[in-house]
């Protein structure tokens, strides 16, 4: 009798489907000091989906992402990436941190930052070859930044910085992309460029998760939502989960009723 069938007979079919899901989180708790920023959150991100993590400021959205990837230490909880520990599935994952998390006066050109995405595959000692540069240029092309390859990164606008970060993640050629606020403070052209790249990734069968703050664009950009306010409020497809009721519960009094009315809710 096969393993799959064994599990099926015991009634845990969901677990079989989720076994190799890009991200499965059980009871994740992360705290700064003695105050949990994320408390016992469960989540399950299916392959090929585009999920927005939403919630008010300080609700632990970014912390959830960092906790899942082990960037910040976990207090408790279990995380599986494609059914494995993150350390074993690392090369299938690409992370795009918040743009403001680095010092942009760092001595690097745009192409140098994108090449950082290839450190993992090239190794730490080998020299760059022209094919690595071509790979990096292709990634810059995809985000519309090829003309800026030799620019000093300090001369870029916020939106351009964000696109360079995305290009670096593209260079990793991962199956699962996690982005922390990719649309925060960027211009309209950048937002269009990023959305179209993310939709391409999805079309190629890759999985995308974004920490997102603009509720009005959620139904247009994403197909799933994960609502967090320290605890998990709800998770599921936009059609059934992105509801006024769930938003009210996530944001509490901070979201005016009129604002909710304006959203294209399910």
């Amino acid at each position: 009798m096969s393993n799959a069938k064994l599990v099926a007979e015991s009634g845990k079919i969901v677990d079989v489907a989720a076994k190799d899901a890009p991200l499965t989180v059980r009871g994740l708790t992360v705290s700064y000091g003695n105050k949990p920023a994320v408390f016992s959150v469960d989540a399950s991100i299916p392959a090929g989906s585009m999920t927005a993590i939403i919630g008010p400021n300080g609700a632990g959205k970014s912390t959830f992402l960092k906790g899942a990837l082990g960037v910040v230490p976990r207090l408790s909880g279990e995380v599986r990436i494609f059914g494995k520990l993150f350390a074993e599935a690392r090369d299938r994952v690409a992370y795009v941190p918040q743009r403001a998390s680095v010092d942009w006066d760092f001595p690097a050109r745009v192409i140098d930052v994108v090449l950082m995405g290839l450190y993992g595959s090239v190794g730490l000692f080998r020299l760059w070859r022209s094919r690595h540069r071509e790979q990096a240029m292709d990634c810059l092309e995809r985000v519309g930044m090829a003309d800026f390859a030799d620019r000093q990164i300090g001369q870029l606008s916020g939106g351009q910085q964000q696109r360079v970060f995305l290009a670096r993640a593209l260079a990793q050629n991962a199956e699962f992309y996690l982005l922390d606020e990719p649309f925060a403070g960027v211009d309209a052209a950048t937002e269009r460029a990023i959305v179209s790249v993310l939709k391409e990734l999805k079309a190629e069968g890759r999985t995308v998760v974004c920490v997102h703050h603009d509720l009005s664009t959620v139904p247009e950009y994403f197909d799933r939502v994960l609502l967090i306010n320290v605890r998990r409020i709800a998770e599921g497809p936009v059609e059934t989960t992105f509801t006024a009721e769930n938003l009210q519960e996530t944001y509490g009094g901070r979201l005016a009723a009129t604002h909710i009315d304006e959203l294209h809710l399910a």
Partner: protein, 406 residues
């Protein structure tokens, strides 16, 4: 032989095997200090290396006492290096521990560790001065460095260790670059950030302990930090920055050691640091990339271009110009006469400026995502940013719109 003659001959390694070896040793020390310091500077942890260097002193004193107790000279350099490495490693781990386990910030931890270790070290040195056995003379040279009476074996040790440290920096350059730029991202790609940070500080520690004899523990931090800061003026890339920092450090060490050998009353450490500072000063003023003079000139040129453009647009719109600088620039370039009326040349230039503004306005609507739009600074001639075909199309749109209006 006069001081100058000796200096020149020593500079070209002609002043004897011993001083040549000391100079090469100091050069390799500077090379490793500059390259390791570059990453410490980029990681913004310059002060940690200050704590490391001050924390060496108790180790020097204790190692001396132990060696004397076992009946040896007490000034055997490898023994003193091991002692200082152990005590500064303890100091480094204490800074780490205090920062991680208490609510104190790193600068407070550095201040506490630095002063306590240094104070303890001074007490030990004072005790050693009153000891009857051992040849304690010269131990205080570890504070400011001295190459006088340096043994060949000591210079060899320093040269080899310096070369090894520089090789180690080269090997770790990629993970250290990644951690210095973006530690969170580095962690997700499998780089162990804590270990890389420790390796970085370990390199500072190695440079410090091998530099004790030549530069001294008080000033070694300068040799770690001045070369990378100097290099930063010349380049916008990590690779060249490491190279330049290594070069500045190496040259400072080499020239400084030669100078202090030529005139034995000159303390080696301070001389090396002053030479490094000379490189810094020249770079800060005269580097064409980020130096003060070049930025001032660039700013002035940019300001003139802005005024010229604004002035031409005002001429095209037949608006009066009040700004003195704008008037001066237009007058000097022959765009207006003394009484402020536009010359024939000025009218042509003004029309061109106005036409280009209108073209950009159309281009912005036509190609909102084009990178030429993003790179446009409001001043560069449109012909340099767009192809003739693009400009033709823009002109057709403008003509069609004007036709519709008429």
């Amino acid at each position: 032989m006069s001081f100058i003659e000796y200096f020149i001959s020593a500079l070209f390694l002609q002043a004897g095997y011993n001083s040549a070896l000391v100079a090469v040793g100091a050069g390799l020390l500077g090379l490793s200090a500059g390259s390791a310091g570059a990453f410490i500077f980029l990681r913004k942890r310059a002060l940690v290396s200050d704590a490391i260097s001050h924390a060496t002193l108790p180790g020097v004193g204790l190692a001396f006492m132990i060696m004397v107790a076992f009946g040896s000279d007490g000034r055997w350099l490898p023994g003193l290096i091991i002692g200082s490495a152990v005590s500064s490693a303890i100091g480094l781990l204490m800074v780490e521990w205090i920062t991680r386990k208490t609510r104190l910030t790193e600068d407070a931890a550095i201040g506490a560790v630095l002063s306590v270790f240094f104070g303890f070290g001074i007490v030990l040195l004072t005790v050693i001065q009153t000891m009857s056995s051992g040849r304690q003379a010269g131990l205080e040279n570890f504070l400011l460095g001295s190459t006088a009476g340096m043994l060949i074996s000591e210079a060899m040790t320093i040269a080899i260790a310096g070369a090894l440290a520089a090789a180690f920096v080269f090997m770790l350059r990629r993970p250290m670059t990644l951690v210095a730029f973006d530690p969170e991202y580095a962690a997700t790609t499998g780089v162990n950030v804590r270990n890389i940070d420790l390796a970085m500080m370990g390199l500072a520690l190695i440079v410090t302990v091998i530099g004790l004899k030549i530069v001294g523990l008080i000033l070694i931090v300068a040799l770690l930090i001045i070369p990378p800061v100097t290099a930063r003026f010349w380049t916008n890339q990590v690779g060249p920055m490491i190279g330049i920092a290594a070069g500045v450090g190496g040259l400072s060490g080499y020239i400084g050691a030669v100078l202090s050998a030529a005139e034995a009353s000159l303390p080696t450490g301070p001389i090396i640091v002053l030479i490094a500072f000379g490189f810094f000063l020249v770079s800060a003023l005269f580097s064409p990339l980020r130096g003060g003079l070049a930025s001032a000139l660039r700013h002035q040129r940019f300001q003139r271009r802005v005024h010229r453009r604004q002035g031409l647009l005002s001429l095209a719109r037949r608006e009066p110009i009040y700004d003195g600088l704008t008037l001066r620039i237009l007058r000097r370039s022959g765009m207006i006469r003394r009484d402020g009326v536009a010359t024939a040349r000025g009218r042509v230039a003004a029309q061109k400026a106005a036409r280009d503004e209108a073209r950009w306005a159309v281009a912005r609507r036509m190609l909102p995502d084009d990178s030429a739009i993003e790179r446009y600074d409001g001043l560069t001639p449109i012909e340099r940013m767009m192809t003739p075909d693009q400009i033709d199309e823009i002109d057709r749109i403008i003509a069609a719109r004007n036709g519709a209006k008429a």
